[in-house]
Every structure is written in C-alpha cells, then in structure tokens.
Amino acid sequence: MKKVALLWMLLGLTFQSQAQLERKLATESQEVDLIFHAPRNINLLTTEPVDKGTLHFAIMHTFGTLDGGIRNLFGIDNGASIQFSFEYGFNDKFSLGAARQGLDKIYNLYGRYHFFKQTYDDKVPFSLSAMGGAGVNTSDYSFLIEGDPSLANRTSYAFQLMAARRFSDKISLQVSPMMAYFMDMNPIFFLEGDQNLYLALGFSGKYKVSSKASLTLQWIPNLNNDLRNNVGLGIDLEAGGHVFQMYFVTSPALNEQYLLAGGNGVPGEQFRLGFNVNRVFATKRSKANW
C-alpha cells in the first residue's frame, strides 16, 4: 500500500514539474478598452480618458443646413461653426480642457474626472465620469443700446455625468444627464431658449462596423423646456493617431451649454454636416516615460 502511495506521489510530482507554466493574466479585472473611439462622440464628451501627460486636440466643425441644396453645397457655403479644444491629462483620472467655440466666441474651461472604468469580468459593469465647465462669451456687443453685458452676464456653466458601457465588441452606449446654466439669456446671443437652467439627457451610441470604423448616434432629449431635441448620426474612422468623425446633426452648437440651449433644426432637411478631427499628442518622450 505504502509503496503504491509513494509511487503516486513520485509520479504526481514528476508530472507537476514537467508541466508548462500556467497561463495567467496579469490582472483579472482587465479594464474595457475603447468604449468610444475618442474623448468625444459627435458633440458629447465620453468616458474615454486623456492619458496622463497627453494632450487631446480636437477641432470640430458644423456647417449650414442641408436644405440650401446643391447651390449652397449642402450648407458648406454657409461657413463652419468651429470649436477648437485642448484637453490635458494630469493623471489617468483627471484632465483639464480649454475650448473655443466660434459661435458667440465662447471660451470654455472644463474638467473631466473618471470615477471608475468598466471591466471585462463585469465586476464593474460600466464606466462613470463627470464633467464640469464654465464659459465666457467674448463677442463685441458695444453696439447695443444698453451697452456691453457684464462679464457675469456673459458667463454660462455646464455640468454632466457620463455613464457608459460597452455591451459587446460592437455596441457601446452612454447616458449623460446634462445641465447648463446661463447667468443671463441675452436675446443677442445665438440661443433659442429663454430660461436660465437647461436639463437634458444625452444618449451616445456606437456600433462598430469594422476594426477601424463605427456608426455613431447622439440624441439629447430636453427635460425642462420645449426646444427641439438634438439628433446626430455619424461615422467614426480611426486612422493612426487620428480619429475622424463625420456626422449629420441638428445644431451648429459645439459646446455643452449651447448644445442644450441653442435650439435645433428639424432632423432631415435641417441636418448640418459636421466634422471632427481628434488627435492625441504625447507631451513626454515615450521612451523616457514608462
């Protein structure tokens, strides 16, 4: 009996030492990559972080409405509403951005914070981030009879939460409760709303059609006003370090406050062609910074 047991023991140990190494993942709760292609999906910010020490540059355009037809080259002749933005990642959780929207010459400062990220093992089922920002309208209104609005009356604020989940390799969705507050709704501003506080729910969607391209969707139903809801449909293309986003959207607005208070055209004929270019720059030499 003892002999047999000893033999087993020997065999067991021999087999054990013959085996290859067990393949183990370095981290069991691997974070889900690329819920969206870029820190923005159409016009809305996403849960995609700007990595530590990197700078995300985005240039966004929307043109005129399509209903001008071929004579206006489907709105392109009307000129573009443009926003430039730079967002710098201080660490993997927090980034600060500055944006300048051509419409009403708004400078926006904003921060994004990423609370947690979805993991493949579903221990964390979704990613959650928040964004807060303030903007100043720097247009010249000295021609107004009542004079230039004060700095305070040119100020607006935006706040939003972003909860995003990648449901499968192809499908990602984000829900963003959004809020915008204008200190003063001066009728000279390019805004349609007449109240100070705007609440809305932003929905962002991505459907991956190939390894480098996705169809994208944006829908922002307003919660406390009768303005038309923002609708956007587009395509994201990844090309090297760039993400190109082309879309149709109902509003020329590009910053968060104007998306909620700026008003929207009817989807279809009043769609506007939009185009974003996203680029990430590493500010430190990649070799030196591991």
Binding site: K3, M9, L10, S17, Q20, L34, G240, G241, A282, S286
Partner: protein, 180 residues
C-alpha cells in the same frame, strides 16, 4: 528500511530534477517598431519564464495587456485592433535548446532555442539565439528575435503603413530563479 531507501532515492531524484529548473515572472520584454515615419517601443515587465535543463524545456508567456508604448490611446488601439487581446491575451513560446550548455557561474553562453511561438492565435516554428548567464542561484537570459506581423495574421492598414513596421524586433531579458 526498504521504504527509507526508496524515499532517499526519491529525494535525490526530486532534488536533482529541481536543481536545474529556473523560473521567473518579472522578465522584461521590449518590442521595437521602426516604420518610415514613426519609431516606437512597447515594453512590459511581466514576462513569465521557465528553463529546465534536465528536461530541456523552455516555456515563456506574457499577458499582452501589460505592454505599454507610452501613449495610452496607441496601447488601446494595439490591444483592440492589432493584437486583439480579448480573444488572444497571451504571446507564448514553448521549445527547447538545440544543445544544452553546461553553465559556468558568471560566464555567458550562447544558446539557440527552437520551438513554437504563438501570438494572435497563430503558431509558428521559430529559432531564437540567446545568451544564458548563471549568477549564483539565478539565471540571466537574454534573447532577440523578429516577428513579422503578417506571419501571425495581423494586418497593417494602408494608412498605417508608414507608422507601424511590418517587422517587429523583440528583445527579452529575464532573471530566473532556481526553484527549490
């Protein structure tokens, strides 16, 4: 008495088997991509390795999710579009040495490993020249080889042709400890 004898015999066998087995799990791996417009490196310090001289067994693997190129977005694109780490998380090599060297402490020995290299789900037979150095209880292993992405069914889109090299140079360096 007889059992004691077997036991001693077993102990001798057991210890001699293990005396020549080395393991490590913090090896460094660097890959270098030299494309016309862009040169970058990816690096990880999570290479796991096993060298067994008695059985002439080499076994290495790495969780590809641990590779970092210094730009987070590039890492995410690498994992998602090229290596597809969700489907194929590991790169692995299992093989043997063409000739098993007899090691002298402190002296480097050149060895050639032959075996199966697997990445992106595609297995290929490769031959890798390397260097072994015995330092006390530790074995230092260095090796370098090339991987053609097309060999492993990793396509490079035309727009990336100038930014990502088809031929990736892989250098590994790992310190393995004698197991007891």
């Amino acid at each position: 008495m007889r059992y004691v004898g077997i036991f001693i015999l077993y102990l001798i066998l057991f210890s001699s088997v293990n005396a020549q087995e080395f393991k490590g799990e913090k090896g460094e791996i660097v890959f270098i991509s030299q494309a016309p417009l862009s040169e970058f490196e990816g690096k990880s310090q999570a290479l796991n390795g096993l060298v067994d001289f008695d059985k002439n067994l080499l076994d290495f693997f790495i969780d590809l999710n641990t590779l970092k190129t210094g730009i987070g977005l590039r890492d995410r694109h690498m994992r998602e579009n090229y290596l597809e780490t969700k489907k194929f998380p590991f790169a692995e090599f299992t093989g043997k040495m063409k000739t098993v060297p007899s090691l002298e402490a402190g002296k480097s020995q050149n060895v050639v490993a032959v075996g199966k290299f697997k990445i992106h789900g595609v297995v290929r037979e490769i031959e890798v020249p390397g260097q072994l150095t015995l330092q006390g209880n530790e074995l230092l292993l260095k090796a370098s080889f090339k991987v053609l992405l097309s060999d492993h069914n990793i396509p490079i889109p035309t727009v990336m042709f100038y930014e990502l090299a088809e031929e990736q140079i892989v250098n590994i360096s790992i310190r393995l400890k004698k197991t007891n």
